[in-house]
């Protein structure tokens, strides 16, 4: 028979072994580029395009070197072990059931950590931010208890250890340190502390305890640099947008520096995780309510509230999601424009839900979490489009794929699957001047449309869709004087900046009822594809309607069908074409 002391040790070894087995199999969802003259690296999340400065915390890096021979991702493994220790302490505090089954405590802790991978993938930013958080919560909890009992002055070592943990947490979390510290305080206060019989805490005592996690967090927030943005011009954008908010922005000015987080991709990536977490949290809430277990309620309430918040962030339409709490908080907090607080929240809720589930359902999550991590967290299902390409990419493409322009590349790949191999051609074409169709003795028509003569707003006059707005199906026909090779087309709305086409399908061929063949289809217009000095693609303003063809087309007529819907007209003041082949 096994000695009782060996059981936890064996359990710990098995849990670490499980992590050791699973973690190397998970493809990272991010890529790193060293920043010159700095210990920081620019981290780009391939799922949602977050782009920010990042570095491993010192302890993890040092220990990681020692572990490097033992495990493939040593720093990640070490962070998971730290997270496991904190989670174990939390589980001992919150779960009476697991308290009676110490052999399950370590596996349950490992499962909680693995659930983070299941929810957000192998995300160094999220794991780094959450690794020390459970331990920090327990430290705050211990300090609160000591202070309430009037023992604050007598537990000096505890203060020192708590400060050390807090500094480590802040260093590891970097830009996320402030929300993590606040989250740790809230968790300690609401989920760990038992309400009944608490001695009151004076305001100054509360402030003193709060200072332990908050001061290092504020320091880390201030000390973390911004990842330098490439040389995009002021009106560039790299994440897809609808362009509908342009009229407001043109009046009030740009609200944020260049946004890098692709919210659409984030919603798509985290949608399934959010759904699963919401379902789990709901089931947990029901189970606990039926069983009447009051001691687990705070944990499950926190998990449920968290699941609702991340669901609001992921499932609501864009304009509403931006007013949901997580997006609002990310706008309030520093770095909110470049760091994905959504992924952090999804990871935290996954951890919370699994901790709560382990307390209530014991064995089920222990089996489910590693499986989910392996399946959901693997690139096979998560399918970050750029991950595979990045692995074999040439240096000039890695340069693009590890920059905020990755979102542009991702979108362009859906339009032209050979975009990355043709990127040089696109870059060359984007610099070419186009030729006015009128000067080439060509013409253009827009159906349905009405002609507006020259006016103070439009000195050339314009064609505009007369039915008011764009409903899909409007057709611009550009007739060239003779058949020629065309590599692009520019359709200028003139000064009417809101009157650009929302979606486009371009075809080319003979005029009249002759054969036409599709050239390019752009479901949501983003602006002209341009390149920075260093060759990074970006989109210019939406009204800059310049379409580059994937390949030159021999055509006498070009047909541009508008496929989107909006209340704004489609105005065409001038049409140009890019003649010849590059």
């Amino acid at each position: 028979m096994m000695r009782p002391r060996l059981v936890p040790l064996l359990s710990f070894a098995l849990s670490v072994g499980l992590l050791w087995l699973i973690l190397p199999a998970l493809e990272p969802v991010d890529g790193l580029t060293p920043l010159p003259d700095s210990r920081w690296q620019a981290l780009l999340n391939l799922n949602h395009n977050a782009y920010h400065a990042w570095r491993e915390d010192n302890i993890a890096r040092l220990a990681g070197r020692a572990l490097a021979t033992l495990a493939a991702p040593p720093v990640l493994l070490l962070q998971c072990v730290i997270g496991m220790i904190g989670t174990l302490l939390v589980l001992r505090q919150t779960s009476a059931a697991l308290g009676r089954l110490p052999a399950l405590l370590w596996p349950a802790s490992a499962a909680s950590l693995l659930s983070i991978f299941a929810a957000v993938g192998s995300d160094r930013f999220v794991v780094g931010a959450l690794a020390w958080a459970p331990l920090l919560s327990m430290m705050i909890f211990a300090l609160l208890n000591a202070t309430r009992d009037g023992q604050a002055a007598r537990v000096l070592p505890l203060w020192i250890v708590a400060l050390f943990v807090s500094v480590q947490c802040a260093t590891s979390a970097a830009q996320a340190s402030l929300p993590v510290a606040v989250g740790a305080i809230i968790f300690a206060r609401l989920a760990l502390e038992k309400r009944a019989g608490l001695r009151p805490l004076s305001a100054w005592q509360a402030l003193l305890v709060a200072a332990i996690p908050l001061l290092p967090a504020v320091w880390a927030t201030a000390a973390t640099p911004l990842a330098p943005l490439p040389d995009y011009p002021p009106l560039a954008h790299v994440v897809p947008d609808t362009g509908e908010s342009l009229p407001i922005l043109s009046i009030t000015g740009p609200h944020y520096r260049l946004l890098t987080i692709d919210r659409g991709s984030a919603s798509a990536a985290y949608g399934p995780s959010c759904l699963v977490l919401l379902a789990c949290a709901g089931l947990l809430a029901l189970t606990v309510r039926r069983a009447g277990r009051s001691h687990e309620k705070p944990l499950i309430t926190a998990a449920t509230v968290g699941a609702v918040l991340i669901s609001l962030d992921s499932f609501l339409p864009r304009d509403w999601a931006l007013q949901a709490p997580i997006a609002s908080l990310s706008r309030i907090l520093p770095w909110g424009g470049s760091v994905s607080f959504t992924s952090l929240a999804v990871g935290a809720v996954a951890w919370l839900t699994t901790v709560a589930a382990c307390s209530s359902w014991r064995l089920l999550p222990l089996a489910a979490a590693p499986l989910a991590a392996f399946v959901l967290g693997s690139p096979a299902l998560r399918n970050p489009e750029l991950g595979e390409i990045l692995r074999d990419a040439a240096p000039e493409l890695r340069h693009v794929l590890l920059s905020p322009s990755a979102a542009v590349a991702k979108r362009m790949l859906s339009i032209d699957p050979l975009f990355l191999s043709r990127i040089g051609t696109y870059r060359a074409l984007s610099k070419h001047r186009m030729h006015d169709v009128a000067r080439l003795n060509g013409s253009f028509t827009l159906e349905p449309s009405t002609h507006e003569p020259p006016s103070p707003q439009s000195s050339r006059g314009r064609l505009r869709t007369y039915e008011g707005g764009q409903r899909g199906g409007e057709l611009l026909t550009v007739s060239l004087p003779s058949e020629m090779a065309v590599s692009g087309i520019e359709i200028s709305p003139g000064p009417f900046v809101g009157d650009f086409p929302r979606g486009l399908e371009v075809s080319a061929g003979a005029c009249g009822d002759g054969a036409r063949h599709p050239v390019v289809s752009i479901p949501q217009w983003q602006g002209a594809l341009l390149f920075t000095q260093k060759g990074l693609p970006y989109w210019s303003e939406f009204e800059d309607v310049r379409i580059l063809f994937p390949a030159p087309e021999q055509a006498q007529c070009i047909f541009v069908r508008q496929t989107g819907t909006t209340a704004y007209d489609w105005s065409v003041e001038r049409v140009k074409v890019l003649k010849g082949t590059p």
């Binding site: 305001a203 407001i248 609200h255 304009d319 007013q323 709490p325 997006a327 706008r331 309030i332 209340a567």
Partner: protein
């Protein structure tokens, strides 16, 4: 019915200030097409509720009935649900601000269940730190030079060297100018407050810190103290402080974009001055501490002279208290102290600044560098300068007007949209909840300021009285904070009150966040920091002017980093000439006078010689073409984003037009040189208050618009210093006035 009276007033306020109302977003069709409809409804409801009260109780509705907090806070809900929050010039610049308000409501609901008394002051401290941090982060280590900030920085540098001997003559700009706008612009109040920093540190290195100190130290500090003096708790005072830093988007326009630091300091001190004057007038024998404090704060405020207009209603209450005042030695001594502190600078300002002509001017009567240089007929102008014809007649602002209700209403709507909704919605109930005496004081003050800020704008636009609307906002911070604190304290009494408190608290918590968006340059009010072009041009001026001047052609206002040119003369250590180095012209104006322009290229070149211009800067296409066309006279040495810089290879710089001199050196307030002839005509403009240390000094008219300094009877080889006479002499002497 008590609720109806409050609702009627609320509808009236929203109708008066809101215009048309759209639900949720501006693109959704309006549910209230014009402000007159809610005004009519409000008036009708007010009449009915008053009649009902008269019939039922035999009295008019009481102040408590008219200021029901739940009803008034529903005004905030109305703003939340309407397009108000998305209006282009609104205080909340984020189109998704509703999300932050919801988060703030959740946080405030938690705060109400715990120690909100303790958390609110902490929130103020955190907000101030965050604002200062945001400001420095937005600056990226660059110097704030937006609009008048550059000028204010210049004034600080001049004051550091010359205070208290102001006004004085300075040779740094436009061949000499009368440095006297310290009085009119209120620069002295900020200078005095920031003087420890000014004297201890280099101004360029500390200027951003000085601005932060004033905006997020002095202003909230004054409101905090004002609220404490008005009987507010620490939490209420913290709310007042938070409101004072988030009065309006227009506040930050004047503070950060326009850089009117004198006004901002004065407006920030205004609530404290009101509280002090209240205490001073109410008390039969005020404490000495209060007396001295009143005198100092009032003086600092009055240093931006229009603030005396703002505080005028207090004079009315002073008259009512006159019997008590004349019996109290402390009152009399304090008033005498205020007069003694203010009379000298007021007298000098009146004498040297042409205040009377400014008040009666068609536009701004502020003097400019090139006083008589009007716009010549296009046909008289040399090619290619004739192309500038369109610019000559361009007005910038400040056309005189008459009482115009429509314009006043438009001004009211603009100011109300930009104002913090808490001040707008709770302004009236907060005033009603004050004690009757305070209600009268604050009511009269706020009413007076609103009238000045709306009606006054159309009558005297040159006074820029729209700023009085902001002063009304700062004055309201104290009563509104007291009202909010009362509401938060009463939140436990009912679910409705708790809801009202949460809604109000959410707006209160979100206000500094909205301010931080503005400070982070993420609003429609963008402000500017020094850019590379300004540094480069300054460096070139320092290197290339030699013994001459730098000459800015065309009309320059904000072309350099969005600020005025003023400090460049100090940074380049070179005298400069421009149509205006500060914002003291209100029409397009050339630096070259008409009589020279009329003579074509030769006239322009002659004027450049007369101004001893060794380096010429051009930013207008006309002037760039002009310089490019005369290749022998101008050699382009640098081309930047806005400015092209030319040297004059054929010109040998010399500050003596006639006679000769050597070793000329300039300080901020004097010129020193050694004459090498008995008579010297200097290329410096003559002012009647100039004095020479050894020669006879008189004007010599070299052109209809240009009078230079002629020195005669000089001892050859003996250094001469030209400086202005002392301020006292200027005050007493008939020649002391400005030209």
């Amino acid at each position: 019915m008590p609720v109806a009276a409050s609702a009627a007033l609320l509808i009236l306020v929203l109708g008066l200030t809101g215009g048309s109302w759209h639900p949720w977003a501006p693109h959704i069709p309006a549910i209230i097409p014009a402000g007159r409809f809610p005004i009519a409804v409000g008036l009708a409801m007010l009449t009915i509720s008053a009649a009902w009260s008269l019939v039922r109780h035999g009295r008019m509705p009481t102040a408590a009935e008219l200021s029901h907090p739940v009803v008034w806070s529903s005004g905030l809900v109305a703003l939340f649900l309407s397009d108000w929050l998305l209006r282009p010039w609104g205080f909340f610049p984020d189109p998704f601000i509703r999300g932050q308000l919801v988060v703030a409501a959740a946080i405030f609901a938690w705060m109400l269940s715990t120690r909100w008394h303790f958390i609110l002051p902490a929130w103020l401290v955190v907000s101030l730190c965050a604002l200062i941090w945001t400001f420095f982060a937005a600056s990226g280590g660059e110097l704030l030079v937006s609009d008048d900030h550059a000028m204010f920085l210049f004034r600080l540098k001049l004051l550091k060297e010359n205070f208290p001997l102001i006004p004085f003559w300075s040779p740094l700009w436009n061949a000499g100018f009368d440095a006297r706008d310290f009085f009119a612009t209120g620069a002295l109040n900020a200078f005095l407050i920031a003087s420890p920093i000014v004297y201890l540190f280099e101004i360029e290195r500390s200027y951003n810190a000085i601005v932060s100190l004033l905006l997020w130290g002095v202003v909230p500090g004054a409101s905090y103290l004002a609220c404490r003096m008005s009987g507010g708790s620490r939490a209420a005072s913290a709310a007042a402080g938070a409101l004072s830093i988030s009065v309006s988007l227009i506040w930050y326009r004047w503070a950060l974009k326009y850089g009117t630091i004198g006004f901002i300091t004065s407006a920030g001190l205004f609530p404290l001055a009101v509280a002090l004057w209240n205490r001073f007038l109410e008390s039969a024998s005020p404490r000495w501490r209060d007396c001295i404090f009143t005198a100092i704060v009032s003086t600092l405020m009055f240093l931006w002279s229009p603030s005396t207009l703002a505080l005028a209603p207090m004079g009315l209450f002073g008259v009512l208290c006159l019997p008590r005042i004349i019996r109290s030695p402390r009152h009399i001594i304090t008033l005498a102290l205020i007069v003694a502190l203010n009379l000298p600078w007021v007298a000098i300002m009146w004498k040297v600044s042409n205040v009377g002509s400014f008040l009666n001017a068609e536009g701004s009567g502020a003097p400019s560098a090139q006083q008589a240089g009007g716009a010549p007929e296009a046909s008289q102008r040399p090619e290619p300068l004739a192309d500038a014809a369109r610019g000559w007649t361009q007005d910038f602002r400040h056309k005189t007007g008459s009482l115009n209700i429509r314009r006043a209403m438009r001004e009211l709507h603009t100011q109300a949209s930009a104002m913090n909704p808490l001040l707008l919605v709770f302004g009236i109930p907060a005033l009603l909840m004050l004690s009757p005496r305070r209600r009268a004081v604050y009511g009269l003050l706020v009413g007076w300021l609103v009238a000045l800020g709306t009606l006054g704008v159309s009558i005297k636009p040159q006074l820029e009285l729209d700023r009085m609307g902001l002063m009304a906002g700062t004055a309201l911070a104290t009563p509104v904070a007291l009202f909010l604190a009362g509401l938060f304290s009463a939140a436990g009494a009912s679910r409705w009150l708790r809801g009202a408190a949460i809604v109000s608290g959410a707006f209160l918590l979100a206000s500094p966040l909205a301010a931080s968006s503005v400070v982070a340059n993420q609003s429609s009010e963008r402000y500017r920091f020094q850019n590379e072009e300004m540094r480069t041009v300054t460096r070139i001026l320092a290197e290339r002017t030699g013994a001459g001047r730098g000459f800015f052609t065309g009309c320059v206002l904000h072309e350099m980093s969005g600020g005025h040119l003023a400090p460049m003369a100090l940074w380049a250590n070179a005298p400069l000439v421009a149509s205006s180095y500060a914002h003291n012209i209100w029409q397009y104006q050339q630096p070259v006078p008409k009589s020279f322009l009329d003579r074509g290229n030769a006239g322009v070149l002659e004027y450049l010689d007369l101004m001893n211009a060794s380096v010429v800067l051009a930013h207008e296409p006309t002037w760039i073409s002009f310089c490019n066309s005369l290749k022998d006279d101008f050699e382009m040495i640098h081309r930047d984003e806005t400015f092209a810089v030319y040297s004059r290879p054929r010109f040998k710089p010399n500050f003596a037009l006639e006679g000769s001199l050597s070793g000329l050196s300039m300080a901020t307030n004097s010129v020193t040189f050694t004459p090498e002839s008995e008579r010297v005509v200097l290329k410096f403009r003559h002012f009647p208050f100039l004095a020479s240390s050894q020669c006879a000094l008189r004007p010599i008219q070299v052109a209809p618009e240009v009078a230079l300094i002629e020195l005669s009877g000089c001892s050859v080889g003996e250094p001469v210093t030209i400086t202005s006479v002392s301020p006292l002499e200027r005050l007493l002497s008939p020649r002391g006035g400005s030209r």
